[in-house]
């Protein structure tokens, strides 16, 4: 049984994982103290002939102690977590040099729109893919997340990113990958009978290779826009792997 998280490839993932390990250690100590304590009491204080329980209604100083210690622990956890939360999910936390990508969720697929050569979404050089998310490593990515129908949730475990997609809202969510590789988006909010298969391929590139991919995509679409197109664009994949 494996008490650990998947590989972390996010720049801010280390902070999230650090919170996890600190909580694991602190709760682990509490767990051992309580469980061992209870078992110890069961053995030591089991009923015996002639034994009488110790009559007491409690201890004020113990109450203060075991209120203060957990409270202090919670304050410390809260302060550190609040800082990390603001850095990741804060309204203006996305770095200004982020690459903008639009992701629109719908039953049961992910439609991705890229900003094209001008790196501005909503212009004529934008292009789209279905069930594929391509982006470069070593650069912050700012996803503008929408939904066409019901709630979905954009989740890439190794990037430690999760954000619900809400119809009627456009929600910014940012992340930065530390290495290239192949991963998946999984939907993390029940969205209907196809929820279990609402996945998309995530391909992270070295920056130079990403530029090449973008150019290929733009070229392929220009070519297929021609009436006598030789190249056909196969931008569709089967749903996921």
């Amino acid at each position: 049984m494996n008490w650990s998280l998947p590989e972390n490839i996010a720049t801010y993932g280390g902070k999230i994982d650090a919170i996890f390990w600190v909580i694991t250690v602190v709760t682990g100590i509490a767990f051992v103290l309580v469980e061992v304590g209870i078992i110890w009491f069961c053995i030591k204080y089991r009923r015996r002939e002639g034994q009488r329980a110790f009559y007491t209604h409690g201890s004020k100083s113990l109450e203060i102690l075991w209120t203060a210690v957990p409270a202090l622990a919670m304050v410390a956890l809260g302060l550190y977590s609040a800082s990390v939360w603001a850095q990741i999910k804060g309204r203006n936390s996305a770095p200004s040099e982020s690459l903008h990508i639009a992701v629109s969720a719908k039953q049961f697929e992910w439609n991705v729109t890229y900003a094209g050569a001008d790196e501005v979404l909503g212009t004529s050089d934008d292009f789209s893919t279905r069930n594929q998310l391509h982006f470069p490593a070593h650069r912050p990515i700012l996803v503008w997340l929408e939904s066409e129908d019901v709630l979905h949730s954009f989740f890439i475990p190794q990037l430690r990113v999760k954000q619900d997609a809400v119809p009627g809202m456009t929600i910014p969510v940012w992340f930065e990958a530390t290495k290239a590789g192949d991963y998946q988006i999984g939907c993390a909010e029940l969205c209907g009978l196809g929820h279990y298969r609402m996945r998309a391929r995530v391909k992270i590139y070295e920056p130079a290779a990403y530029e090449v991919w973008v150019e290929e995509q733009i070229a392929a679409r220009e070519a297929s826009a021609e009436p006598t197109a030789l190249a056909t664009v196969n931008e569709h994949s089967a749903g996921g792997m």
Binding site: F20, S59, L77, V84, G168
Partner: protein
């Protein structure tokens, strides 16, 4: 028909009554004890239903796409050729949660024990409003039947999770479920009514009908817990009812509270649901904590350690419970600043639960521990609730919740607190108060076997779910095989499923013991546990009206091993006015 008369001393006395028909005595009864037992049968039935649904879900996860045994019994719309459809799986997930939360656990904790115990433990002849109490039970019954019947309608039972998030729940074109979702709503509105009627009764009874000498700080912790729970229910349930009706209107008459397409806001559903939902989960644990405090004291032959702090913690949990609902919505798209504020309140609410855990340990410390079945389940509660409480700390941190939200880590947490917590306490309470209810003891040896097997299999089922969640496995998945991050989990699915089947089978031991003992169990004396609270100072089962004359109370609720009482190790609340308690030692 019995009438309760106020004597000049203010002590209520029950007048003699004439014989009632079977129907008035056992079916449409206004006696709180009968109503409590009626709720017991109703809720145990739904516990079985909820468990059956879970077994079906576990089959699919262990053997995805394989025909179920007796699969041919299912219609084409659920499982063609015995292979479960994704939409049926989602209805199972939804209704498992719905049956377990609303019709099993809530009714077992409150419907059964608030009804049965409150008048007995405070020295009252019945509830303040006995006929309203009868209505409370008889609204719960159609509520449950409607929820069950929803499986049979076109489109099947509700399929948006027990949390019923909009817009999925509001729009049959997205969920594939129309009538079933509406029946789900009607069922819960009815159940909410039952609950609100009950709360009104419990609160009024505790405030107004305590026997002479039964001051607030002499009430058993069970009564405190049930009283505060009733207040939570009274304040929270109407919010659910309101939200449910808004959802029903969105589905049926063209409103758009939650529908973005026509200007509504899906997040509003989540706020309304969780404003109810979070107090609801405290409704699902506070009574359990009350039972455990009491049973640990009885089993340890010691007063509850820190009674005042325990009362304070119950109240703190209830008050804070209204301020934390947004922790279910950290990743929802709501303003991140709300994430910060809800995180703070959520971390704070961990503290009173910690206080209670230490006080339970303090109760056992230097006790004279009797390990009968209720005590074993009460100790099991503390050991398992601690795990559920500690896992909650991981989710309380909003940034770590980014990863863990909507994964099986949450499912593990839910089941450690609701099963390892609430249900273990319910088992403790049933074994403990069964003799009072039915005048017979449940078999203690089989009770211990039931405890041991349940403890073992429960942990085998739910502990691995923590690791599945940490691997990133999402909730409510019909099939996890399509994801690389869950590819290694099939072995764990199998382990969990086999253990779950074993856990379910273990329930038969309880069921047989329960029904057999009702008729053939060893006859129970008035006070088989040598307990101090008032319900044990009257026959098993008590007469209609509970006492010939209202008891007079001289002592606190858990005066065990009092140094000035040397012939026995307990001091009933209504005996020995000459003894000073608490003793100044």
């Amino acid at each position: 028909m019995a009438t309760i008369v106020a004597e000049p001393t203010g002590v209520p006395v029950v007048e003699e009554h004439h014989e009632m028909s079977f129907i008035r005595k056992y079916i449409f009864s206004s006696d709180h004890k009968v109503i409590g037992i009626q709720f017991l049968f109703l809720s145990l039935f739904f516990l079985l239903m909820g468990g059956l649904l879970a077994m079906l879900m576990r089959w699919q996860l262990a053997w995805p796409g394989r025909p179920m045994p007796f699969g041919g019994l299912f219609p084409e719309t659920m499982a063609p050729d015995g292979i479960m459809l994704p939409e049926f799986y989602i209805s199972l997930v939804t209704m498992h949660g719905t049956f377990m939360v609303f019709f099993a656990i809530m009714l077992l904790l409150v419907g059964v024990f608030a009804n049965y115990l409150i008048p007995l433990q405070i020295g009252a002849p019945d509830m303040a409003f006995p006929r309203l109490n009868m209505l409370s039970f008889w609204t719960a019954v159609p509520a449950g039947l409607i929820a069950l019947a929803s499986f049979a309608v076109e489109g099947g039972a509700a399929g948006a999770g027990w949390t019923s998030y909009a817009p999925l729940s509001a729009m049959p074109e997205y969920s594939g479920v129309s009538m079933g979702q509406q029946m789900w709503i009607v069922s819960l509105v009815l159940l909410g009514l039952s609950s609100i009627l009950g709360s009104t009764n419990y609160i009024t009874t505790v405030i107004n009908m305590r026997a002479p000498g039964m001051t607030w700080m002499r009430m058993p912790l069970t009564v405190w817990a049930l009283f505060v729970t009733a207040i939570l229910g009274l304040l929270a349930m109407p919010v659910l009812s309101g939200g449910l009706i808004m959802l029903l209107f969105d589905q049926t008459i063209g409103t758009h509270f939650f529908l973005a397409e026509t200007g509504g806001q899906p997040l509003l559903w989540q706020h309304l649901f969780w404003f109810f939902g979070h107090p609801e989960v405290y409704i699902l644990i506070l009574p359990a904590m009350g039972f455990v405090s009491e049973i640990l004291a009885v089993g340890s032959r010691k007063p509850v350690f820190g009674y005042k702090a325990m009362v304070g913690a119950i109240v703190a949990i209830a008050v804070l419970g209204f301020m934390v609902w947004g922790h279910h919505m950290f990743q929802s798209g709501m303003n991140p600043l709300l994430g910060t504020s809800f995180m703070v309140s959520t971390l704070v609410i961990a503290v009173p639960s910690a206080i209670k855990t230490f006080n339970w340990m303090g109760t056992m410390w230097r006790g004279n521990l009797h390990f009968h079945t209720p005590m074993l389940f009460a100790i099991g509660f503390v050991m398992l609730f601690v795990i559920g409480g500690l896992s909650g700390i991981f989710m309380a941190s909003a940034p770590f919740d980014i990863f863990i939200h909507d994964t099986y880590f949450i499912v593990a947490h839910i089941h450690y607190v609701l099963f390892g917590g609430a249900l273990f306490a319910i088992f403790a309470a049933i074994y403990y108060w069964f003799p009072k209810m039915f005048g017979r003891m449940m078999n203690d040896r089989w009770g211990k076997i039931h405890f041991a097997l349940t403890f073992i299999f429960f942990n085998l089922v739910f502990f691995p779910m923590h690791t599945q969640g940490l691997a990133g496995m999402m909730r409510r998945l019909y099939d996890t095989s399509g994801y690389t991050h869950t590819a290694d989990l099939q072995g764990t699915h199998l382990l969990i499923t086999i253990s779950a089947f074993a856990l379910f089978a273990t329930g038969a031991i309880f069921a047989i013991n329960f029904f057999w003992s009702m008729f053939k169990g060893e006859k129970a004396p008035p006070n088989p546990w040598n307990a101090t609270s008032l319900e044990w100072q009257t026959p098993s089962p008590p007469r209609h009206g509970n006492w010939e004359q209202a008891p007079v109370v001289y002592h606190g609720p858990h005066e065990y091993s009092h140094p000035d009482v040397t012939d026995k190790d307990w001091l009933a609340q209504n005996e020995r006015p000459d003894v000073v308690s608490p003793a100044r030692h």
